[in-house]
Amino acid sequence: MSERQTIDARGSFCPGPLMELIARIKQAEVGDELEVLSTDEGSANDIPEWVKKVGHEMVESFQNGDVWHVVVRKSK
């Protein structure tokens, strides 16, 4: 069954939110959603760029206070 996992990458300069997502998405099941929490504004751009290049799916991306939420569905 697919589920939504949260990746709390707030305050992460190294390895950073995208690297955290890449590490976690490998362990997830196809269909799972991963919600990345990031305080790095760049994540709102660099996560969708990677997701598109590798062939996963962007679900949504929004800002809540200082935190960006980027939700991705593993599709392969």
Partner: protein, 377 residues
């Protein structure tokens, strides 16, 4: 109060010694007890493996006897934990013994897993174990020219290794006089050449100056050894004659087997370093799931914060501080220059241009480490 530390690497050792200093009286009076269980009677200085892989350090310089590093009040056993029974405040070891605790600290580290990417283990070199570093040095020594491709798996310990291994190999081939026959192809998983943006900016300038080619958004999918090609998840490929890998890592198998954390990464509170959902279990170093560098310095700063808190719990019944996410990483920028990056959860790094003084400080730190492990630095 019984404190049990599982793992005698960087984090566990610094914690145990720091605690022994802070709890000198309590240990003497029998009010506190520190026990460490580890998997080896030797302590390895893992950063030395980078130098072994380019023939700059002998392997015996990597080790000290673990007992020689520990304060005498610490009870130490080489007896790896096989079962964690957290609900009963106890662990069981390989020899069949059971150890109880009031406070447990898990610091079992992480391991490189090249076998998780098809073809990687058989067709690449890396500097993540003693045997691999020796084999890497053999292949580097015998290399007569061609493309050196650097490929990086996620997650990995020591975030500086991808850049450092590139710079030190560049200078090694230059010193051997064969640089004109060697082409470097550096690849990196995200959209810049290092996760720390300012480090990536600086390194890009260095790569351009040295003629090192790079491809970003490159995550290893499989290695085709017959055709000497690495394929990426993003659908591109890179040819190699020598493939230098930074393999993806996992925590130790015992962590996942005991259901403490997927892939061996234990869910950990970023400030208190408590295992999530547990009040008397703490996690330190590489095996946390925290979104910060898996580095010795991380383990060191976490150990200092945790030692202060555990000692305060023994003395006052309450912790006294938060871990702030502090990390400090040296960055070797060749055979004679280095810089560093320091940051925490709130402060980004601002690395300075590399110089000789920082390189020699890193060389000195390779020796000073032993004082640091004893809790003296």
């Amino acid at each position: 109060m019984k404190i049990l530390i599982v793992g005698g690497g960087m984090g566990g050792t610094i914690l145990a010694n720091n605690l022994a200093h802070r709890l000198k009286h309590e240990l003497k009076q029998g009010k506190a007890q520190i026990t460490m269980l580890s998997a080896s009677d030797r302590h390895m200085y893992q950063p030395g493996l980078l130098y072994v892989s380019i023939g700059r350090m002998a392997t015996d310089a990597l080790y000290r006897e673990q007992t020689s590093l520990l304060e005498p009040e610490i009870e130490f056993h080489v007896d790896p934990v096989t079962t964690f029974t957290l609900d009963q405040n106890q662990v069981t070891t390989q020899s069949g013994k059971t150890y109880g605790y009031d406070m447990l600290v898990i610091a079992t580290g992480s391991r490189a897993m090249p076998e998780t990417i098809p073809g990687l283990a058989e067709n690449s070199v890396n500097c993540y174990t003693e045997a691999n570093a020796i084999e890497m040095w053999r292949q580097v020594r015998e290399f007569q020219g061609g493309t050196v491709t650097i490929a990086v798996g996620v997650p990995h310990k020591c975030p500086m290794i991808p850049l450092e291994v590139t710079f030190v190999l560049h200078d090694y081939f230059k010193e051997r006089g064969i640089l004109d026959k060697v082409k470097f192809q550096y690849t990196y998983p995200i959209g810049r050449i290092h996760s720390l943006a300012p480090v990536g900016e600086w390194a890009k300038g260095e790569f351009d100056r040295l003629g090192i080619q790079y491809e970003t958004l490159f995550n290893m999918k499989e290695v085709d050894g017959a055709n000497k090609v690495v394929h990426s998840e993003e659908g591109t490929q890179s040819h190699y004659d020598l493939l230098v890998a930074v393999p993806p890592h996992k925590g130790m198998a015992v962590i996942e087997e005991n259901g403490l954390g997927q892939s061996g990464w234990i869910p950990t509170d970023r400030h208190s370093l408590k295992m999530e959902g547990r009040d008397n279990v703490y996690v330190l170093g590489d095996t946390t799931n925290l979104p910060i560098s898996k580095a010795g310095s991380t383990a060191h700063f976490e150990a200092e914060a945790l030692a202060e808190n555990l000692a305060a719990i023994v003395k006052l019944g309450e912790p006294v501080r938060d871990y702030d996410g502090k990390v400090f990483c040296f960055i070797e920028a060749g055979s004679d220059r280095a810089t560093y990056a320091m940051f925490n959860y709130n402060q980004p790094p601002a690395p300075k241009p590399p110089n000789r003084a920082v390189h020699w400080f890193k060389m000195a730190y390779n020796q000073l480490y032993w004082a640091s492990a004893r809790g003296l630095l």
